[in-house]
């Protein structure tokens, strides 16, 4: 559900930067989204298309770079990809848990304009 308000935020950011750059049209918006954020790509594009009608961002494509989750083991410091539905345990030393080093990204990286 909250993809609607998120899409509005993406559109606001893109329009502000496009205006500053003197763009006539936004062709694409490049996003970086971590897998741990739980946002759904198709849903964001759907709302973005709806919200961007009659703005310079109409018909812009959202390009989403997904960042996989990475956890740094609190035992041995090794980095690993946490499994989806099991305990987060380190494949090297077996210790449980760690610090999230990637996967929470959620930003507009750049826009493509003309």
């Amino acid at each position: 559900m909250h993809e609607l308000s998120v899409s509005q935020s993406i559109l606001d950011i893109a329009l502000r930067h496009a205006e500053r750059a003197g763009a006539r049209r936004i062709l694409a918006v490049n996003l970086v989204i971590g897998d741990l954020t739980g946002f759904v790509d198709d849903s964001i594009q759907f709302y973005f298309d709806f919200l961007s009608k009659d703005t310079p961002a109409q018909d812009a494509q959202l390009h989403i770079e997904r960042v996989a989750a990475r956890v740094r083991c609190q035992g041995c410091g090794a980095e690993f990809a946490p499994p989806d539905s099991r305990l987060w345990s380190c494949p090297s030393c077996g210790a449980l848990g760690g610090e999230i080093v990637a996967g929470r990204e959620f930003s507009v990286a750049s826009i493509e304009i003309e």
Binding site: M1, H2, S5, V6, S9, I10, D12, I13, A14, H17, A18, A21, A23, L27, A28, N30, L31, L36, T37, G38, Q74, P82, S85, R86, L87, W88, S89, L96, G97, I100, F106, S107, V108, A109, S110, I111, E112, I113, E114
Partner: protein
């Protein structure tokens, strides 16, 4: 000819800015704010009501209630004489910083030491939105099962404290407390866990004492 313009801006930066304003306002009033997150029915409101009771005479509590609809929870809190504001999000699945900002404007902040912000019942969406709170608490309950931390890791990772409610039901259910505790620790080694029953009152005191520490500081 298309050109690429770097932006590098957090998508939720507008929310984060207002969250920062909320935090500054709260800090200025000496209020500690606790964002209470849980699935629907875990007992968020019951935990808040029990805590108000336990802290009576020691800390002045205020409450912001977030629900899709109704004033059911706010009415229960108001009966205790505690200042409360209800936010109805319509279909919204989480509270955001602007909603909390408008609720703060309707609370007698000078009369509050500890502010509970009861988020919408949901283990996914509230995680991403900073409200300006100082402490995030996740309330789980025995009937939900012991596998919630494994299935919804995102919210357990960001918590500063955990409550496990409805422990009085443990004899009747297959909740495996060891698996629950191990899964919590795997995601979050630091945050303390308070096991309690809002029905019997068992465990409330330890939780209330923990709240007194940061709130009194």
């Amino acid at each position: 000819m298309p050109t690429e313009v770097p932006v590098v801006e957090k998508i939720l930066s507008a929310n984060d800015r207002i969250a920062l304003e909320n935090r500054r306002l709260l800090d200025g009033q000496g209020i500690v704010a606790v964002n209470v997150m849980a699935s629907p029915g875990a007992g968020k409101t019951s935990v808040i009501l029990r805590t108000i009771e336990a802290l009576r005479g020691r800390l002045r509590v205020g409450v912001i209630e977030g629900d899709l609809a109704s004033r059911v929870d706010a009415d229960k809190v108001a009966e205790t004489g505690t200042p409360v504001v209800q936010i109805n999000t319509g279909g919204g699945c989480h509270l955001d910083a602007p909603q909390v900002q408008s609720a703060l404007a309707r609370l007698p902040l000078a009369e509050i030491d500890l502010l509970f912000i009861e988020n919408v019942g949901n283990l996914v969406c509230p995680t991403g939105w900073d409200l300006g709170e100082h402490v995030k608490v996740v309330v789980s309950s025995v009937p939900e099962g012991h596998d919630k931390p494994i299935k919804y890791p995102g919210i357990f990772v960001v918590a500063d404290a955990f409550v496990l409610n409805k422990t009085d039901l443990a004899p009747y259910l297959d909740f495996d407390a060891e698996i629950f505790r191990t899964a919590l620790r795997a995601l979050n080694a630091e945050a303390p866990l308070f096991e309690m029953s809002c029905k019997t009152g068992q465990g409330i005191e330890a939780w209330a004492d923990w709240l007194l520490a940061p709130a009194g500081a």
